[in-house]
């Protein structure tokens, strides 16, 4: 039986009197990828922050790795929109901080962090501060920081939105490769249709406060998919869903 990494049932969330998430239900199977897409203000980030335990829902069932969400879920990582790298820590220290906090041995911290930085191609900037590196490097650092915690679920909040097109594509490929290598369940929020089709085995199309449609996408992981016409057919399907959701 396929286990669910994320289980959401009848999730409702409101700020003062405004309902932001209205009776949402969906599941994300373990080791799969899911992308949440929708227009600005539809509640994508609120949903992700609720899954991360940053926002308390009004009602509904919310389970991550089969455990109810009360605080930030265990074995989970998050990459925030602005990366939130600590400005006073170097790239190395940002990535190593999670291990330091979990009282790991110094040698283990050094070895694990160095290996991860090397894997993500940012070892040469290990001693730089976040203010000295590019957006793409910041993103890699934020990914490395989350991966160093060995998460089973990785939450990404529009993590590539501030990057240029080529860097964005490179990082999407890297995220997918890491998912395949480390068997991490990915749940990403985005407003980019291409990113949703490239990364999401399951694409949740949101409309104001609710789910408009859940699209199953079999194209994820196919080599050079961006150069094939079926990729753009799927993009069109997502686009039409988004448009009908906005109209409806």
């Amino acid at each position: 039986m396929i286990k669910n990494a994320v289980f959401v049932n009848n999730l409702t969330c409101s700020f003062t009197d405004k309902i932001v998430l209205d009776a949402l239900s969906f599941v994300v199977p373990t080791n799969s990828t899911c992308v949440i897409i929708g227009p600005s203000g539809c509640g994508k980030t609120t949903l992700l922050h609720t899954l991360a335990g940053f926002i308390k829902p009004d009602s509904g069932v919310l389970r991550m790795n089969d455990e109810p969400v009360t605080d930030f879920p265990k074995r989970t990582g998050i990459i925030l929109q602005d990366y939130a790298l600590l400005p006073w820590c170097t790239v190395f220290d940002n990535v190593a901080l999670g291990l330091k906090i979990s009282h790991q041995n110094r040698t283990v911290i050094k070895e694990k962090t160095t290996a991860l930085l090397n894997e993500l191609g940012i070892l040469d900037i290990a001693h730089y501060y976040p203010s000295q590196i590019s957006g793409g490097q910041k993103q890699r650092t934020a990914i490395a920081r989350s991966l160093n915690l060995e998460p089973e679920i990785l939450l990404l909040d529009e993590a590539t939105s501030a990057l240029d097109a080529m860097t964005r594509e490179q990082l999407q490929e890297m995220i997918l490769a890491l998912h395949q290598l480390k068997k991490t369940t990915l749940l990403q929020v985005t407003h980019s249709i291409e990113e949703a089709v490239f990364l999401g085995e399951q694409i949740i199309v949101m409309k104001k406060g609710g789910i408009h449609e859940i699209i199953q996408n079999p194209l994820v992981g196919i080599k050079a998919i961006r150069k094939k016409s079926i990729f753009y057919d799927m993009c069109l399907t997502v686009r039409e869903s988004l448009e009908s959701g906005t109209r409806g």
Binding site: T76, L86, Q132, L149
Partner: protein, 249 residues
């Protein structure tokens, strides 16, 4: 021009500027109260050994006042910034006391702590500690929410959040607060050293004024300038050491 050569050059420009302003004032005002700069600098070099005890007295009072203010102001600022109920309880009190011209409390401190250093240091502490509390409190409240979210992702305890997030985040605010504190401390100490003391630059300047020795009075002002300058440079060095992530911004 690189950073290392730029700094002494900037300082040199500042000194030349100050000298020119002084020279201009001497020329245009043409009154004994503004002495001739080169003559005064010569006199300053000559009098420097006798100025040393006064410089050290003032320096001791300033450093003690800053140390005590740090010991009180930083924990209080962190507490007010991090705890909502502490903010609700103490912020109104700080707002009420902060604008009062606190130099007026010198007689109170003299009655409480005597005529020695304790009353002068207490006055300076009383003046600068509120500035420091507010700087630290603002530093805490300006920490981006996303940094707390990162600490939650790492399942950091309250103590770890304090060590890895709050402490480094408020260092720049403490340094800025320290700069303001030094300026205020020197100004208020000048006032405090006019009473019941025979040591300190405040005493030296006002004593020279009372005997109408304006050149010597200016030597005291020059020493006060030098003391302030050295303290500010010390803070710059401290900032480069403690806030290295800001140097290339």
């Amino acid at each position: 021009m690189n950073q290392k050569t730029k700094m002494p050059f900037d300082t040199l420009i500042g000194l030349v500027g100050l000298f020119l302003i002084w020279e201009g004032l001497y020329f245009f005002i043409n009154h004994p109260v503004i002495p001739e700069p080169i003559e005064t600098i010569r006199l300053f070099v000559h009098l420097f050994p006798s100025l040393i005890p006064h410089i050290f007295s003032s320096l001791y009072r300033i450093l003690m006042a800053i140390l005590i203010s740090f010991l009180i102001g930083i924990p209080l600022g962190i507490w007010i910034g991090a705890s909502k109920w502490a903010d609700r309880l103490l912020s109104p009190l700080v707002y009420l006391i902060y604008p009062i011209p606190k130099v007026a409390f010198l007689p109170v401190f003299m009655l409480l702590y005597g005529l020695g250093d304790a009353s002068k240091i207490s006055l300076v502490v009383w003046i600068i500690v509120f500035q420091l509390i507010l700087s630290v409190r603002d530093g805490i409240s300006q920490i981006d929410r996303s940094y707390y979210q990162v600490m939650r992702m790492m399942h950091a305890s309250k103590w770890q959040t304090f060590i890895y997030l709050l402490c480094p985040a408020i260092i720049p605010q403490i340094i800025s607060g320290l700069r303001v504190c030094i300026g205020i401390a020197i100004a208020s100490l000048f006032f405090a050293e006019n009473y019941a003391t025979k040591y300190g630059l405040g005493y030296y300047i006002m004593n020279a004024w009372s005997v109408i020795d304006y050149s010597e009075m200016f030597c005291g002002i020059l020493a006060l300038c030098l003391l302030g300058f050295l303290l500010f440079k010390l803070i710059d060095i401290l900032e480069r050491l403690l806030v290295p992530w800001k140097k290339d911004q």
